[in-house]
């Protein structure tokens, strides 16, 4: 296993040129999540339109993995209906918990398949999941569910 399996070209591209970055109006919910062990943080906004994820915007600070993951996540969920965005979330979560054992489905995960290598590095899985966790929390709040803790 070499570190190049984690630092895929796609990841470095998203890191250097992140998509959908910068907080935007309007939004239904805003959350702030921290990765307490390393200090990565993200503030993320979600706007829903019925069952559609109308917009996701964020402001974040952190390592290449957490930054690239936010960018890829926003690409994947914006414009999707909630059910399919949530199933993408589930599939990404499963990939990140796979310790490198899962062959990712490019049709579903698109650029997010590049994170398969990260799943072999337990200390970095949290970085890759930070934006996704924030997104799910924000969606929950936007739909009036009881919010999770925003740490």
């Amino acid at each position: 296993m070499t570190v190049d399996s984690m630092y895929q070209e796609i990841i470095l591209d998203h890191y250097k040129n992140p998509h959908h970055r910068g907080l935007r109006e309007p939004f239904d919910a805003e959350v702030r999540h921290l990765n307490p062990t390393c200090g990565d943080e993200i503030t993320l906004r979600v706007q829903l339109d019925g069952d559609t994820v109308k917009d996701v915007s964020y402001d974040s600070e952190g390592c290449s993995i957490s930054q690239a993951s936010a960018s890829v996540m926003a690409d994947l969920v914006i414009g999707k209906d909630l059910a399919s965005a949530t199933s993408t979330y589930d599939e990404f979560l499963e990939l990140m918990q796979s310790k490198g054992q899962l062959e990712p489905d490019e049709d579903v995960l698109e650029d997010a398949i590049a994170f398969a290598g990260v799943s072999k590095y337990p200390a970095r899985v949290k970085c890759a999941l930070l934006a996704w966790m924030a997104w799910r929390d924000a969606v929950g709040q936007a739909r009036g569910e009881v919010g999770e803790s925003t740490t």
Binding site: T2, V3, M6, Y7, L12, T37, C38, G39, D40, E41, E61, G62, C63, S64, I65, S66, Q67, Y121, R124, C127
Partner: protein, 415 residues
């Protein structure tokens, strides 16, 4: 032979390294370990490992309660470790040395037992480890007292101009770190203590990072209580220390209740054992205390002065080489003056997590993150740092490996 050369001969680094089996291991085949995460925890010499093994193989029993041979041997070893600690930090009385789980527990013991009330103030600094911050946050919240803190200067030092504003007649406790684990700064204990004494405040020193690297003399420091932790001083995990002046410790209520800490127990109530047992409820960490005793012997044999000189030289070398890495900014003092060998830095445009990951690929172990000192990170406008920290077995060759590694990191991220 010059004096200098004689001192170098006396401190034979290659012989020292042979005492630490782990320093021989490879992180991956062909990639030797370069361990620069010593501020988080130190490695253990064979002497400590052997002593702990021998304890379990030959002497294991519960302490204090038994009259059989093993119980007496175990008690003698455990109490012998207390004597070693007492003499290592020059305590006036062995009863002033309390075994705890770690520094964190020692500091919590104080924050839980020192009486505070609404209107009282506790003063800490902005460079505290969370262990010497959060317990005081809890204590002030619980009692209605107020928490204040001494700020920091841009070059990583305590802002002493803040002393008169923060330490006032309302101050009951001044708790501060001797050597910062994030910045490496060694604080002027005498200045803070003088001010605290003027107002009659109790002084608490977090010496977790100073005891292992320069040794301390608790009487000369003039503070009222000191916390430190075994695993950073070549001892095992699970054992820490509280030293406190007997008058102070005698005046405090117990922290944890249970066996060993009592004098007389009835269903209606209990009275407390004398020091140090009043603060050692339950079966203590016996093997760990014995292992710590072996670590103290090890440090004393090398000599704390020799260790300090060796690390001073390494720190000077590391500061010099690191500052020539393009885009690198030291967070903390940039010179060796009043500074230890924990060096935090930021590398332009590359997050510490990525720095640490790529260094690990080369076998170089550093720590990344906020190092349990988040407020100080915020103060310097960095969410996290990369930190390299030396110990008595670190070599200049390992600093070279770090610097070469950082060049590799920069090339990797500019591709």
């Amino acid at each position: 032979m010059t004096l200098d050369a004689a001192a170098k001969l006396a401190y034979d680094i290659s012989r020292v390294r042979k005492d630490f089996p782990i320093l021989d291991r490879e992180v991956r085949p062909g990639v030797p370990l370069v361990y620069l995460d010593n501020a988080a925890t130190s490695q253990k010499p064979q002497q400590v490992l052997d002593t702990m093994r021998d304890y379990y193989e030959q002497h294991n029993a519960n302490v204090h309660r038994g009259i059989h041979t093993l119980a007496e041997e175990a008690t003698a070893l455990y109490e012998g470790a207390r004597d070693k600690v007492a003499s290592f930090v020059n305590a006036a009385d062995r009863r002033e040395v309390i075994f705890t789980k770690n520094s964190t527990e020692a500091l919590n013991l104080l924050a839980r037992t020192i009486p505070l009330a609404a209107g009282d103030e506790v003063v800490v600094t902005e460079m505290e480890h969370h262990s010497n911050l959060v317990p005081w946050q809890l204590a002030t919240q619980r009692t209605g007292a107020t928490l204040k803190w001494i700020g920091l200067t841009d070059d990583g030092r305590l802002d002493l101009a803040d002393l008169d504003r923060t330490i006032t007649s309302k101050t009951k406790v001044v708790a501060f770190v001797h050597q910062s684990n994030l910045l490496g700064t060694v604080n002027p204990v005498d200045v803070v203590v003088a001010k605290a004494r003027e107002v009659g405040a109790i002084t608490v020193l977090d010496a977790s990072q100073s005891v292992p690297h320069m040794g301390i003399d608790v009487q000369a420091l003039g503070v009222d209580a000191v916390a430190f932790t075994g695993h950073k001083m070549c001892g095992p995990t699970g054992i820490g220390l509280l030293w406190g002046r007997a008058e102070l410790l005698d005046s405090l209520p117990p922290f944890l209740g249970g066996g060993e800490m009592i004098d007389e127990v009835t269903m209606a109530g209990s009275t407390w054992a004398v020091l140090p047992h009043k603060f050692e409820a339950g079966t203590p960490m016996i093997a760990e205390a014995v292992g710590l005793g072996a670590a103290i012997d090890y440090l004393s044999d090398l000599g704390m002065d020799a260790i300090r000189d060796h690390e001073h030289e390494l720190t000077a070398y590391a500061l010099e080489r690191l500052q020539r890495v393009e885009g690198l900014r030291i967070i903390g003092p940039a010179t060796t003056e009043d500074r230890g060998g924990a060096i935090s830095f930021a590398l332009d445009g590359i997050h510490p997590h990525d720095v640490g990951q790529l260094l690990d690929e080369l076998g170089v172990a550093v720590r990344v993150g906020h190092h349990c000192a988040r407020p100080a990170c915020l103060r310097y406008g960095v969410p996290a740092t990369t930190r390299a920290s030396v110990h008595l077995y670190t070599t200049t060759g390992e600093i070279d490996a770090l610097v070469e590694g950082l060049d590799h990191v920069r090339r990797y991220f500019s591709r």
